[in-house]
Symmetry: C2
């Protein structure tokens, strides 16, 4: 094709010779690709991993490294928490829905302790200590954190247990995690071709995927995969045309990626008739300090609260973007501000300060009496230690005392886990939708039948997520279903 | 294939003989199919229309019949309104976004007066009189109605003009519209095969669509289409698996369709690698009487207002479903109730009545002081004739006097335009996402290139709509782009 961006499949009959042959070809070397490569190699297959970058990592290496695990892991038990797969599944079904896949959630939760051990056996370290407050990325090396399990509305839906598992790292955990996973894949025998970008799949006359075409330093390479191709190419937040078509609310915000989440794997498979799921959904990292929000109020453009502020901050982000058009402020007082140690505030400062609620609302350009009513009501029930409106836990309820301050989340501070410009729209996003896959990572066509020879995992696939999101479920389902996809590809013959 | 629901394409080489041959095959005989059939026949093509039902109609015939037209139609001018395509496009871009296709909106608006005349020439009558209040379906035969153009936030974005054009009918307009459109197609020479369900497309070796396989009374029929196939099969609200995959928030609500919107055309094209857009989006008919809502307040589960109540009621519906999880009440007083004539209330009655706001909130199981604050603030600014919070127009602002009443929209009354059980979830929905098409209705593949011989229009395609919706844009874009698709198919050779 003359179109450099075309993903139209190449007929195997049109491939005169293959430049490379392998059993299993993995496209993309993030967490899902490395897990798939490891299991495929461990399953006895010859494995080649392509990545368009100069080494493994992808978006996974830039992340905080949290992995959502539970059901009674050693870390949970060491921290004094009982957990079981049913409670974990009940939480994930609610938190990742509507539209979450019940079969995948069940399998993920039932095998979660085993997956913890697999990660630990690959050298991923977790400290048996808990960080006990809402956070994006705790400032400690605690190995366990809450991700909304103990706050409304989930605390009443399922027995709460903290399930955010964090690799013990001096810096952020994603880099460490990827070092260990890529190291494991390498040790198992997987080889890598870097700086190599897959452009389309190669398909036999009977519809079986038998390889991929790639470009490396401007030259075309054809790769034959005798047993299967595993697409672990990431999401599509870097592809604005795809965002416009599927998830327009995500356009214009900071993109959380390594810059290569252009949806190429999703598109290559769709060109063969693959089905996709939940393409409109996304994670929304909102530019607020969870500890400040929990100690204050979060209000919208009408001066109304809209969520319990002690929840997982990504829930606040999704609510802010999808329900409030990002018009979102944290309202707090001096004590709340001072209670959060300065290093954990990432330089966030109030954008507005005033002696009264009405003055504050004026400065914020909000309806004055509405915000004043909200603050008055909040202070009234906070003094009684209850939140009848949004169910914030008593621990975080305290009347706010003047002077009052507000922080416009669009002023632009982002968690330190994200690099780049710290001014923005208040939101940092990535996509959750992707290819429809089986429990074993087989890419399914529009009829729901597997496309022979084609597998996918990670953000190129839609696995655990419906429209909701919880930190740790990306690396979690990427590694979990990546392993299953790699193992299944190795078994193919 | 043994799978009765398979949409996998059939290779032309595997078709021994065709049962029927035509130039243009139109699949689905609703508004888009009839418009396509008319133009294809008028363009000199032999045209066959398949429908799985016993005659033309589809969801179009069950609708209220509104068609969104403007830019200065004779009806608008007779009612004293200036309008121009730019104002119309500015409104639609805002109301149908985010993610609306600017090129399609521009073309639709520029050609809207011509499209009005085309409809009038086909015998669709419009009275030159205006219904001047928010409504789903006015109780009169007025030919023009507002659809949010004159209320916040759109009134300030674009010069307001009413653009909802209504066929003059004793009953609802959709039936009349379809009678005229199907009659026009028939007169132009299109023939119909009823009780015939297309099951898959027939594809030549070079990827050109050359026909379709269908089933009629249990027997398979093969249809050759020398110039092209036009898919006008409707949306997918009747396909729960597709809703779960793409639009899970629409699951469980009343489906607005003729029962045949199972996404078959979308799936048949996707199986060839066609692209889709905006599959998560839907229209939400909320079970409220617009005249009552406009005269009162609409509140959510926290006793907060969340939208100006004088807007197009479908905007209230989308906000209620996508942002408030359908926890929605109309709060009003006796005068507001009595001001809406009984026949226009469709039997709606208050679900709760109380002397004070606090008592009302208790009955509604809402936070008492929150609702009381909302009502107190509303009454305060309504007495001054302004709505600083949501911008409702002064015409609809008046303090509410006790006794106060609330109507839970989930109590289940639906507009009289919809048949069936009148108890429900408070929402009646249909899907807006579909196949990615060109301005001429060509179905585009994942690369954005036309699939030769394949066209689509109506709710099987994604045309004007991003994530927003306005009444009349379904019949509007169905007929407008249906015509273009039919004409383009007839030109193909």
């Amino acid at each position: 094709m003359s179109d450099r961006n075309s993903v139209a499949p190449r007929a195997a009959a049109d491939v005169r010779a293959y430049d490379i042959e392998t059993d299993v070809l993995v496209v993309g070397y993030g967490c899902a690709g490395s897990a798939a490569a490891f299991e495929a190699a461990a399953g006895g297959a010859q494995v080649l991993v392509l990545d368009r970058m100069s080494g493994p990592g992808g978006a996974s290496a830039l992340s905080g490294g949290e992995i959502y695990l539970g059901g009674g892991t050693p870390i949970q038990r060491a921290c004094g928490f009982d957990d079981d797969p049913a409670a974990m599944a009940a939480f994930l079904s609610a938190a990742l829905g509507p539209g979450a896949d019940p079969d995948k959630i069940t399998r993920y939760c039932e095998d979660s302790v085993a997956h913890f051990h697999w990660l630990a056996d690959r050298g991923v370290p977790f400290n048996p200590t808990l960080w006990d407050a809402p956070a994006w990325v705790p400032p400690t090396d605690d190995g366990l954190m809450w991700l909304g399990e103990n706050s409304a509305p989930f605390a009443e839906l399922a027995a709460p247990a903290p399930r955010g598992h964090r690799p013990a790292a001096a810096d952020f955990g994603g880099k460490l995690l990827m070092d260990r996973l890529a190291g494991a894949a390498r040790s198992a025998g997987a080889t890598m071709l870097s700086d190599t970008r897959a452009t389309c799949l190669i398909v036999a006359g009977d519809g079986t995927v038998v390889g991929a075409v790639a470009r490396r330093y401007g030259a075309e390479l054809t790769v034959r995969a005798r047993r299967g191709v595993v697409l672990t190419t990431g999401g599509f937040v870097d592809n604005d045309a795809m965002l416009a078509a599927h998830a327009p609310k995500l356009l214009g915000h900071t993109k959380v990626s390594a810059g290569t989440d252009d949806g190429s794997g999703i598109r290559m498979a769709q060109a063969l008739g693959a089905a996709v799921r939940h393409m409109a959904t996304g994670q929304v990292g909102i530019s607020l300090v969870p500890g400040l929000a929990a100690r204050g109020m979060v209000v919208n453009g009408n001066g109304q609260r809209f969520i319990n502020e002690d929840t997982y901050p990504g829930r606040i982000g999704q609510a802010a973007l999808f329900r409030q058009d990002m018009r979102t402020w944290v309202v707090l007082d001096e004590r709340a501000f001072e209670e959060v140690p300065e290093p954990q505030r990432w330089g966030v400062r109030p954008t507005h300060v005033a002696e009264t609620a009405e003055e504050l609302a004026d400065l914020m350009d909000l309806p004055a009496t509405a915000l004043a009513d909200t603050i008055r009501r909040y202070n009234s029930f906070a003094s009684r230690g209850v939140d009848p409106e949004f169910g914030k836990a008593p621990r975080w309820l305290r009347p706010l005392a003047p002077p009052l301050a507000a922080i416009d989340v669009r002023a632009g501070v982002r968690p330190p886990s994200e690099s780049g410009d710290r001014r923005g729209t208040g939101a940092s996003v990535f996509t959750l939708g992707g290819l429809h896959t089986s429990l074993d990572g087989a890419v399914l066509d529009i009829d729901g039948a597997p496309i022979p020879g084609l597998f996918a995992a990670g953000r190129a696939a839609s696995n655990l997520h419906g429209e909701g999101y919880i930190s740790g479920t990306s690396l979690g389902d990427g590694t979990f279903f990546g392993r299953r996809a790699g193992a299944a590809a190795a078994r193919t013959d």
